[in-house]
Symmetry: C2
């Protein structure tokens, strides 16, 4: 880890080498650091604050929807993973186990908690009166990735929320899946200003054990899609494997209909990649701890006056956690760069001339635009500009996303469009083999979302008439 | 797990068999459940809500003290535990490791995070400008207990916060240790109404690797002390083992002075044990999700009128999350018992006669006291009664605690007083061997706190003149 104060800025352009850019931003904006163990990360306060904002916002959603928070154990008996066949197969390669203790049975670190939670659900649920059961947990999970890891985007441990609900009817479960995908979209677009495509996953991309999976997909500046959260209609598969039964109103025994849904600290990675620029991090005001930094321009003769005024302004902007940077050991230019690196949404500069004119200079982090603002109207202007930044980050990213969606009629066109870093809509049969073929021919692109269409078209692989369109892209 | 609706109440008296009482309350008030793995627990929503309240309250303290939240990895390389000798020895028996992966080195699940955090601190800290560094994390930890486990009180996985600070001077570190112990006391007494004795740990009871440990100790109705949180002055021991150095203002290299402090979900267990009674859980209003339940007494001819009034009252008491229990399948008496089991602080009963008289019956969970309250003044009265409950729970527990402290001059007296379920003050040398002797002779009692005194006295074991008094008790 290089001490960021030793270094000036990011040494590569984001558009030239986004991977290296991302690594440098993480460290220089003090967002994350590498752990002593491969594939793990340290979430530093600036990034953890974003996670806390996400948690607070989503806890409000949970309260509104009457989902309650709970906590289940980190360790899961090995045999639990064998009960639901698809689930078992899907997670087996990523499981980590602890070394044998007296129990005899192997214990896995949770990669997700369907199995251990539904074991309890089967004991807690007796009748329709106990339904719907809607629980959520905030937890760390371990998935022993073999792919290249990258802080926030793919790590062997990450933080997430996982919601697990049981309903009386299939209809309720499907509605819950859909509702949660839309709640995710609202949260991510509103707070992180990351626009999403929302839709269903193909059979090949579905969660192991789910009947249907909905996904929220972001699109990164390097032309790769990033799955930001998923919501599953589990049908009765897990209920049958874990014996989640209830007596319905007619005293008839019936299996529960289940959903699960989750998003993780990966969202932080999406936000960094989406908005950052060559100067460093760009934070949407909604997730910036300090939304305003005030840099006084100090000369010996006016020093005290300027500092006092800066502190006065700091006070009046307390609502946005404004901070005067009065460190004596650094020059203003150095401070500007540092706060730009850290993504502070607004910088206010104040010097002796500003005192005379009763103005300050206000600089937007996202655009770099400067404006003179009268001191008397500073609060209103700051409030307005913060709103504008939040909106314009989302708008800009939306335009990019919309401009990145294209179409292809055959495999050659698909390859060409993918090379142009597009998300490409193609007619494709919802079939694992067909999708495997697409993946092979495109060197790894996958369907991010699949949609039913009214008009039929020819499957890009088999030529069959189908009414499903897939959004094909490379993905993280 | 017995479905609580099948059972009437708790089948033992708290004063006769607190252990069985505790187990039943956990399950019947749906606070916790046993996990499929021995020594682990499931924290159910009613208890998790308490943890969330504690988190929110303590996060405010952290913000005030400029401590920032962060997250470090769950897994720690084995060699990290060997760097600080005492720490290594203290935690070795409780470490769990994961099965070998490609890395070669064994990886332990964190029992506490001093080692992995200070490894990063050594990279992040360069100069006095980087100090104080004050970080906290909310996390799960694993300690493979061999003692009998009990949900919340002693489990192999628990949730906690751990704060880790580095200062320039010894004085700052000592002050931080003391300040945090007092913050803990304020939090626990204020929110959970659990009174505490605060003081220093003896050499024998100190945290492995700490120079001084302060503790907050609660005292349970069965005459056992319960350590509820600790705050350590780590001196420079870890700094030297992990190379946490900085350049001071004179450009001289110096080791950092460190503290760490933590409390866990054990607090929930303390609260349950302290306040609960033979009817079940008693919740301090500050940590009750629903502070008021309204039970309508329904007869056919007045049914609708009474229900409407109940809903009206529910609305006017929204601030306290009041809930009308309008379930048709249960009778009022059943509902009373259930809400008593769940610890809801206030019950309001409303029937047809109340409509005429424009009154309701208000029942306090803690005392069982009933009073007639005019509907017109219901809000003010509820507010007042909730305050009274919160205060009187603390007062009652304080009286019990104060009445439980006694003194002894020799070993016989000590044993007698311990048999009377007291915390016993004795003159004792602060020495591991001496304390081992006390433990042997008393069948396991330990010093919970040790204080310096002005007056000298004879050590209860060695007879030497000492000026340290220990509080001896059996402990969880």
């Amino acid at each position: 880890m290089v001490n960021k104060k030793d270094e000036k800025g990011i040494s590569v352009e984001k558009s030239k080498d986004i991977s290296e850019w991302y690594t440098q931003v993480l460290q220089k904006a003090e967002l994350a650091d590498y752990a002593p163990i491969k594939g793990f990360m340290i979430i530093r306060p600036r990034a953890y604050y974003i996670w806390e904002k996400i948690q607070k916002e989503f806890d409000k959603v949970l309260e509104r929807l009457k989902v309650k928070n709970t906590y289940f154990p980190l360790l899961i008996p090995e045999n639990f993973f064998k009960k639901e066949a698809e689930h078992a197969e899907g997670f087996a390669p990523e499981l980590a186990y602890i070394e044998g203790k007296e129990e005899g049975e192997r214990l896995a670190l949770r990669p997700t908690s369907e199995t251990i939670m539904y074991d309890s659900y089967s004991k807690w649920i007796r009748s329709w009166r106990d339904l719907p059961l809607k629980l959520n947990q905030w937890a760390n999970v371990i998935r022993w990735e073999v792919k290249q890891t990258k802080p926030f985007l793919r790590t062997r441990e990450f933080l997430w929320q996982e919601g697990h609900c049981v309903f009386e009817t299939e209809k309720e479960a499907r509605e819950d899946m859909e509702k949660m995908a839309l709640e995710y979209q609202k949260l991510v677009e509103g707070l992180l200003a990351v626009p999403l495509i929302v839709g269903k996953k193909s059979e090949a991309e579905r969660f192991p054990g789910a009947r249907e999976t909905m996904t929220i997909e972001a699109f990164m500046p390097d032309g790769k899609a990033l799955q930001c959260g998923t919501s599953h209609n589990l049908g009765q598969g897990f209920a049958k494997s874990f014996d989640v039964k209830f007596l319905d109103k007619n005293e008839k025994e019936s299996y529960g209909w289940q959903t699960s849904w989750g998003f993780s600290t990966r969202l932080i990675g999406a936000m960094i990649m989406q908005h950052g620029d060559d100067k460093g991090l760009v934070l949407p005001p909604a997730v910036a701890r300090e939304k305003v930094v005030i840099v006084p321009i100090l000369f010996e003769d006016s020093r005290e006056k300027v500092l006092n005024k800066a502190k006065e302004i700091e006070k009046s902007l307390k609502k946005w956690n404004a901070k005067v940077d009065d460190r004596e050991e650094y020059k203003p230019g150095f401070k500007f760069s540092e706060h730009e690196m850290n993504g502070v949404p607004i910088r206010i500069e104040i010097g002796p001339k500003d005192l005379e004119k009763k103005t300050v200079v206000l600089v937007r982090r996202d655009t770099g635009d400067k404006e003179l603002v009268k001191m008397s109207g500073i609060e209103k202007r700051v409030e307005k500009v913060l709103e504008e930044i939040q909106e314009s980050l989302l708008e800009k990213a939306k335009k990019f996303l919309e401009g990145s969606i294209s179409e292809a009629k055959d495999m050659d066109e698909l390859k060409k469009e993918l090379n142009k870093k597009k998300i490409v809509k193609v007619y494709m049969k919802d079939d694992k083999e067909v999708e495997g073929n697409v993946k092979d021919q495109t060197e790894g692109a996958t369907s991010r979302i699949i949609e039913e269409t009214k008009k039929e078209g020819e499957c890009i692989v088999s030529g069959e008439k189908v009414n499903t369109v897939a959004y094909i892209a490379k993905a993280y």
